[in-house]
């Protein structure tokens, strides 16, 4: 995978690195993808499960994306399928909270979502990258209308409470200024012959021209207040028509202020492979997918079933469960094979006879903390006052993200935004509060970015994933050490049982991980079932 010209200086490669590190992954990725470095989702199109043994049965534990993907495909292939689901609804973490919904978290606090009709938040996944081909496939199959998800909005904010007097900065300005100053510096280094050892004279000419374009530099390779730079960062007074037409260029922030602010760390937020345009959201909420899947599978899913024991022998698997709504009586269900998608913190507590290696793997994966809060306001002030239409504001405040609705633009009346999307230590702290305290804190912190908050706020909900009764955490966190030690053991078929879910994928926390994990696993289960022949 060397660069084509085989030049001894490796200058082009070095250049790519430099550009990749500063301009972010977009330029880098475009260059690299032609070399085949960048990988897409392994999804290969509809799974081929021909030749299912007559009468063979599969019991699936969990009606989330993994479980329902597997149930759908196995049913269509002729297997007898049953699904046990703990919740009273299908979807698992594919879930939307809408006005009128009630949600009781561990610890007993019940929230009544008081949003107006048609407003919602997605407490779990909220975006689908276009290259999550499995998710795109099933979304299409289930006739789910998609809307654009604005990962990057140049008019949303990057905010640091310690920079620019705590005043949020437009993404557009930070990006333009960071890029412009870096281009100017690199041009200066080039013209002072500092790059002679690594870039040929011929390439230097091209480099300089590219820096001028990329950084919006002037004819002297300087990043200054000009039409060119204002065309990136915005004008002091934008061009218009008539006698008031003449634009007034804006003044870039100084390099020191940009560097010192730390806001440059947000410039590449849309450049990672998972965040690159286009991304989508299901109209009406991510939960539309789980709901449609659940409807499609209909009576195959048994809801309110809490699994308490999984026991396999050489002919099949027996699962014991209780009905959440009338606990006490234990029921059992048996099948030839079992696909278990139960999140690992829960599965680790369920008695089951699997190999020691799989049992160790199940206990080896800690789950990430995450909290999301939805807030309803009397008006869409972020659009009306600040001209922010969709996208995300990033802040160093404990709320970390504000997600603006990517739909319903300019509609009169109320609006709901994602007031916080939090992970790590701060998510743990938010989890430790009551839901009402979380919402209050989210409003308080958010008002540092949008002063309209306190006046316009109406109601809110806050979901802390470690208090979700059906997951006990947000998603599995692997390290390269735990992957090396446990990942294959987790994914191997163990007798008549196999696991699937985002935890059994390299797409941790993404629905695509659940889908591709399910397809990979049922493909292997199917091979084994076929090899066993007719029902044993």
């Amino acid at each position: 995978m060397e660069n084509g010209d085989g030049s001894s200086s490796l200058s082009r490669r070095e250049l790519l690195r430099m550009i990749g590190a500063t301009a972010g992954a977009t330029a880098m990725y475009q260059a690299m993808s032609t070399l085949g470095f960048a990988a897409e989702s392994p999804y290969q199109g509809p799974v081929d499960l021909q030749g299912a043994p007559r009468g063979a049965s599969v019991l699936i534990l969990g009606a989330g994306m993994a479980g329902m993907t597997a149930a759908y495909e196995l049913r269509n292939a002729g297997y007898k399928v049953q699904v046990l689901e703990y919740n009273a609804r299908a979807g698992g973490r594919n879930w939307t909270l809408r006005g009128g919904d009630r949600y009781t978290e561990l610890g007993g606090h019940t929230q009544q979502c008081e949003f107006d009709k048609d407003f919602y938040i997605n407490p779990g996944p909220w975006r689908i990258p276009y290259h999550h081909h499995g998710m795109m496939h099933y979304t299409k199959l289930l006739n789910i209308p998609l809307e654009p998800f604005f990962q990057v909005n140049y008019n949303a904010y990057l905010h640091s409470s310690n920079a620019f007097g705590g005043k949020p900065q437009r993404y557009r300005e930070v990006k333009a200024d960071y890029q412009g100053h870096v281009a100017e510096l690199l041009a200066k280094a080039t013209r002072q012959n500092a790059l002679d050892a690594s870039v040929t004279k011929e390439d230097q000419e091209m480099l300089l021209e590219s820096l001028r374009q990329w950084g919006a530099l002037d004819t002297n390779y300087s990043y200054v207040s000009s039409d060119a730079s204002s065309d990136r960062r915005g004008y002091e007074k934008s061009p218009g028509g008539g006698l008031s037409a003449r634009p007034i260029p804006s003044k870039p922030a100084a390099l020191h202020d940009i560097l010192d602010s730390g806001l440059w760390s947000g410039v590449a937020n849309g450049d990672t492979f998972d965040m690159q345009t286009a991304l989508f959201q299901p109209a009406g909420g991510m939960g539309r997918i789980g709901e449609a899947f659940g409807k499609e599978l209909g009576p195959l899913i048994r809801y309110n079933a809490k699994v308490t024991d999984i026991h396999q022998d050489d002919r099949g698997v027996t699962v014991t469960f209780t009905d959440v709504q009338s606990p006490g009586a234990q029921q059992t269900v048996r099948a030839d094979w079992c696909l278990c998608t139960i999140p690992l913190p829960i599965l680790a507590q369920i008695s089951m006879n699997v190999s020691q290696s799989m049992a160790s793997a199940i206990s080896a994966v800690p789950y990430a903390a995450s909290v999301k809060a939805g807030l309803q306001f009397k008006r869409r002030f972020w659009e009306q006052d600040e001209k922010i239409f969709g996208g995300i504001t990033y802040t160093d405040l404990p709320i970390m993200n504000i997600g603006y609705p990517n739909t319903g633009f300019q509609s009169g009346g109320k609006g709901v935004l994602l007031g916080a999307y939090i992970w790590g230590l701060r998510a743990m702290e938010f989890t430790a509060m009551t839901p009402a305290e979380r919402v209050q804190k989210v409003v308080d912190y958010g008002s540092q970015i949008h002063p309209q908050y306190h006046k316009e706020f109406e109601n809110g909900v806050a979901v802390a994933w470690h208090r979700a009764p059906f997951t006990l955490g947000c998603f599995g966190m692997w390290t390269s050490a735990t992957r090396a030690k446990h990942y294959d053991d987790l994914c191997q078929i163990d007798g008549r049982l196999a696991l699937a879910g985002e935890h059994a994928s390299f797409l941790g926390g993404w629905q695509e991980g659940a889908v591709t994990s399910a397809l990979d696993t049922i493909g292997r289960l199917h091979q084994r079932a076929v090899a066993q022949g007719e029902r044993a």
Binding site: Y86, G107, I346, V365, A436, Q440, P469, L472, T479, G508
Partner: protein
């Protein structure tokens, strides 16, 4: 940089239980101030997210162990190793200091882990007297110096 003094003032679990819905909640800690929290504050800021105020635990599809009157706590090593390395989905807190990003697990020092172990073993109806020291925690296995962030 939220200050620790307020955290101290507001941190007690009993007080938190008494707070009305819209009363102020404990101040946030941060990477910078986390290191100065004592055992009780660590419990209030972090542990009770799952183990609940008063160490009452919770039951859903799975459960969070009740820490109140917990017989496993006879072994301080069991408790300390659980905090250091995590257990059954519980995140580890024994990663080396300064490691990872805001998104990853939080680091607690050996002294803090000793302090929170002593706290939970002497509260919520537990009355184990033996005080664990930072040196004793230091001697236990710690997780490797790496982690990954979220999506």
């Amino acid at each position: 940089m939220r200050n620790v003094a307020l955290g101290v003032a507001l941190g007690a679990a009993a007080l938190l239980l008494m707070l009305s819905a819209y009363a102020d909640s404990p101040m946030f800690t941060s990477r910078a101030t986390l290191g100065s929290l004592n055992g009780e504050q660590i419990y209030d800021h972090i542990c009770q997210g799952c183990h609940m105020p008063g160490g009452q635990g919770a039951v859903g599809a799975g459960s969070y162990p009740k820490l109140a009157a917990n017989k496993n706590f006879v072994s301080w090593r069991f408790v300390a190793l659980t905090v250091l390395d995590g257990r059954n989905g519980m995140p580890p807190f024994g990663f080396p200091a300064g490691h990872g990003m805001n998104s990853g697990p939080a680091h607690l020092s050996d002294a803090q882990i000793a302090d929170v172990v002593n706290y939970v073993r002497s509260h919520f109806g537990n009355a184990y007297k033996a005080e664990v020291t930072a040196e004793e925690v230091q001697a236990l296995p710690h997780p490797a110096a790496e982690l990954m962030g979220p999506q």
